[in-house]
Every structure is written in C-alpha cells, then in structure tokens.
Symmetry: C2
C-alpha cells in the first residue's frame, strides 16, 4: 500500500468533520502542517487552541497557498462557492477533495473549476453526531464508518488513490459509487429519516403548546427522534437545497406508506396492522444479521 504524506494541508471549514479529519491526519503524522480556513474567528481560535490546526486564516487565498491537499468541509451549499473562490490560488499538483453529504451537483461542476494540473475527488464520510463545530471533533469519528467516494470518468487515478488512502487512514471503509446513486441512497437512509425526525419533533411541539407538559412524559423512542432532529440546521438546509429532488421523492413514498398505515388504523384492520409491523421487525432483524456478518469480515 502506497504511503501518503502531505507538506501542507488546508482544511476549509474546521467543524465536526473537517476538524476530526485534521485531528486524525496529525495523529498519524501525515501532514507537516495544517492550516484552518473559515469565517468564524471563535471557531478558528478554538481549533488552534485545541491543536486541531497549526495556524488559521480567514483569507482563502492565503490559506490554500502552497498546499498539496485542500479539504473543503463547509456546508454543502457553500462547497462550490468556496472552490470557485479558492481555485485561482491553488497550486499545480494539488488535490482538492470535499466531504459533502450531497454529491451530484458538486461533482458536475467542481472538475471544470480546477486549474490546470489540480485534481478534484469528491468524497463523503458517512459519519457525524448531532453536535457541530470544532469542539465536537474527535479522532475516532470515522472509525468503522463508510466513506463514499464518487469518481467520474475524468478523475485522476493517482489523486483518487490518495483520497482513498486518506479515508482508510482515518479508519473508514471506502466505497466508490456514482454521484447520482449516492444522492438517492443518502436521501433514503439519511435525509428522509432526518426530515421525519424534524417534522415529528415540531408536531409534538405544536401539541405541547395546547397540551401542557406533554413533553415531560417523553420516553425512549421520542428522545431518539429529538436527538436526530438536533443536528445542525445550517447543514440540513444545505442538504435539502442541494438534494431536493431525491428528498421530495422519498418523502412522497413515505407519505404513501404512512397514509396506508393510517387507513389500517382507521379501519381497525388488526391483521393488516400486525403484518405491517412484522414486516418492519423482519427488516430490522435481517439488518442486524447483515451487520454481524460484515463485522466479522
């Protein structure tokens, strides 16, 4: 396996994901120096104080100067604007990569924005917590998680290998996938669940307003939903804007399912209800089995 190491790494957006990757690169001594770039001075100062980055700047031009690796870890809606702003100052031979949860739009446009001799490789580490900002970052965030890389026909093979190695070093299992398929898969297993969690929490909040103290009775199930619904609003509005078609399609499929379940309840169809619930339970059980199998590999 090829060894990788960088002279200067620039992390644009030193939040949960960007920060955790920086911590890992430092831990494994893969970067001589790491520069953080961002807008919020408090977060950048925290990144420096915590040793996540060696230095920081709010100036993209200065930040990318002389870097051989640039990691764009800003909310998805800002990835292309950031790349556009940075592009003129990126040096030949550098690799640019991102960590966004939506890929099709970014992939379609990022390659053409690269200056001569600079390679772009899109990546999405499927990891995260409900916390955000550099203070939530930690070295083990990507351990055992998947990282989906979305190369195109034009992707430089060597740069692709380097980005793969970065995520393997971070502890992730790397999978390559078409950007369009990535966006559909993520809409189903991540974006839809989040939209549902947000809607549920807001529904219960509506009910609370004319049914005092209802929330004080909340137990296990509902608390899990509120945790999911407490992820970064800034990040999620970006995801919704960038992957709207696939998310709307998934919401529609879900609406149909819920409507069918509501009918079964209205009609008191006890057998139908049991079938519906058993089906979900079976999926869970087969998923658990699948996870145990893959864990063994």
């Amino acid at each position: 396996m090829e060894k990788i190491s960088f002279n200067k790494v620039t992390v644009i957006g030193v939040g949960l994901i960007g920060g955790s990757l920086a911590i890992k690169l430092k831990e494994k001594k893969l970067a001589r120096t790491i520069v953080g770039v961002g807008r919020g001075i408090a977060n950048l100062e925290a990144a420096k104080r915590l040793g996540v980055v060696d230095s920081f700047t709010r100036d993209v031009k200065e930040g990318v100067k002389g870097s051989d690796l640039i990691v764009v870890a800003v909310p998805v809606q800002s990835i292309l604007p950031v790349i556009k702003a940075a592009a003129p100052y990126i040096e030949k031979g550098s690799i640019v990569t991102d960590v966004g949860s939506v890929k099709k739009d970014v992939i379609k446009n990022a390659e053409s924005l690269m200056p001569e001799g600079v390679s772009f490789v899109g990546a999405h580490p499927v990891a995260g917590t409900e916390n955000s900002g550099v203070e939530a970052a930690f070295s083990g965030l990507f351990e055992g998680r998947k990282c989906i890389i979305t190369p195109t026909a034009n992707t430089d093979k060597k740069a692709l290998e380097v980005v793969k190695r970065i995520w393997e070093e971070a502890g992730a299992r790397v999978i390559c996938m078409d950007a369009e398929r990535h966006d559909i898969v993520l809409a189903a297993i991540s974006h839809l669940p989040h939209m549902i969690a947000y809607s549920l929490v807001n529904t219960v909040s509506d009910i609370e307003s004319h049914n005092e103290e209802i929330l004080s009775y909340s137990a296990g199930g509902f608390m899990d939903f509120t945790r999911i619904a407490s992820s970064s609003p800034e990040m999620w509005r970006g995801i919704c804007t960038m992957n709207s078609d696939a998310i709307v399609e998934m919401i529609e499929l879900f609406e149909k399912r819920l409507k069918a379940l509501r009918r079964l309840i209205e009609e008191g169809d006890s057998e139908g209800l049991k079938g519906e619930f058993e089906r979900a339970k079976n999926l869970r059980d087969s998923l658990k089995k699948y996870r145990q199998q893959t864990a063994k590999i």
Copy 2:
C-alpha cells in the same frame, strides 16, 4: 410510608413488563409466592426456570385463586377479556391492576367487571425495550421511569395507595392522570413516533427492493428508527386498535407538518427550512435542560 406485602401475587402475562415487575417484587421480598398465568407454555416454563415466578398455570381460575394482588400484563386488547374471564374467581379484598399502554377503554369497563369487594386500579409504567417475553425481563426496567396511574372517582383510596407503593418500590416515579388525557399524551409521545418508525422502515424496505444494497449504507439515524420499529407487533396492533382515535389525530397533525416541510424543500425556501430545523433543535435543547433540572430534584 405504608409497608406493602402480599401473600400470593398472580401475574397474568409474564412478558417483559409482567416479568420485570415479578422479579422486582421477589427481589424486595414483597410477595410470599408469585404465580404466572399465560397461554404460551414455553414462556411460562422459562419464567419458572429463571425464577421469575414460583409456579405457573394456563388456567386463569386456578391462577387467581387466593391471590391478594392480580397484575394483568397482557397486550392491551386482551386486558378486558382476561379480566372478564378471571373476575368470577377473584377473592374479596383483592386488588386487580393492569400495565396497559392504553387506558380509557379499559378503565371505563374494568370497574364494573369487578366482583363485590374487589378493587381495580389502572396503571401504565412508561418503560420498555424493543425486546419482549420473559427472557427480556430485568429488575431495573422501571428504575427512574414514570408510572402513570389513572384512578377514577370510584377508585378505592386504599387500593390506589397500594398500587402506587408497588410502582414506587419498582423504582418508578408515580403520576396520577385522567385516563383520557393519558391516551392523548401517549399517542403524541409514544404511539405516533412508533407509527412513523414503522412507516419509515417499510418505506426504505420498498426502496431497497428496486435499489439493491441501499440498507448496507444505513448509519446512525436510520438504525435508531429500525430499533423503535422492532417492538412487538402483537403489542402494537393492540395499541392501534385500542387508541385509534387519538393516534389517527396525531398522524394527521404530523402529515400536515411533513407536507409543509416538503413544500419548503420543493420551493427551495432556504430560510424557511432553517427556521423549521432550528425550532426542532431548540425543543431538544430545552428538553435536555428540563431533564437535567428534574434529575436534580
């Protein structure tokens, strides 16, 4: 505080809830003997083998004979039929209580089914896991959880105190509430989340059928949903049948919220989306604060 102790306790339905209560009563030496009653012989044998009950029978008449406490811990739709079958054999001075997740229908009818001198007190320990059956039972299940007791104007004051004490001994915080309000509160914070989790899991399962391996990418959020959706189908069909009006009302409120969110996504209303997500996050944060406060008390 009054001390309680029983000569013979009958637990009808020795599953997760009934079994965990039996374990606790034994642990605290509050029952001289505990008899399990049920339909499934394998589960009853397991209950005996695990020491959860001292003996068992499939005959309700024999099971309740000479008991001073009868705990009906069967799925909600079976509570009234079980009480009806047991009533003629329950001895004067006994207390009958249940643990059902739906209360209005049971409370309305259970009192009139009691023989002269027998008291009924409805209770609902808000606790559980996704597992069912006596092998999932454990002593700490009710620790720190709420137990909602739903007395009526006719409830015997002494019997009410006894049932309160039982649940306090089991580690729960006892709250008294009107049965109708109980059913609305539970529909919002427990039944609705479960219906949504079941629908989501089945939606993703539909998508999987024409989009292979989609599930292998599932991460944190979705796994939480599948856990919620793996609770006992038998139990949930009962809850849906017994609390259909309130559940349907909650589903309708949720459908409106989700539809509004879908519109914001379709329209690309970035500010509207952020507001929606922030609102949910704020609720979570205030809920966390609330929990920390009550934990201190």
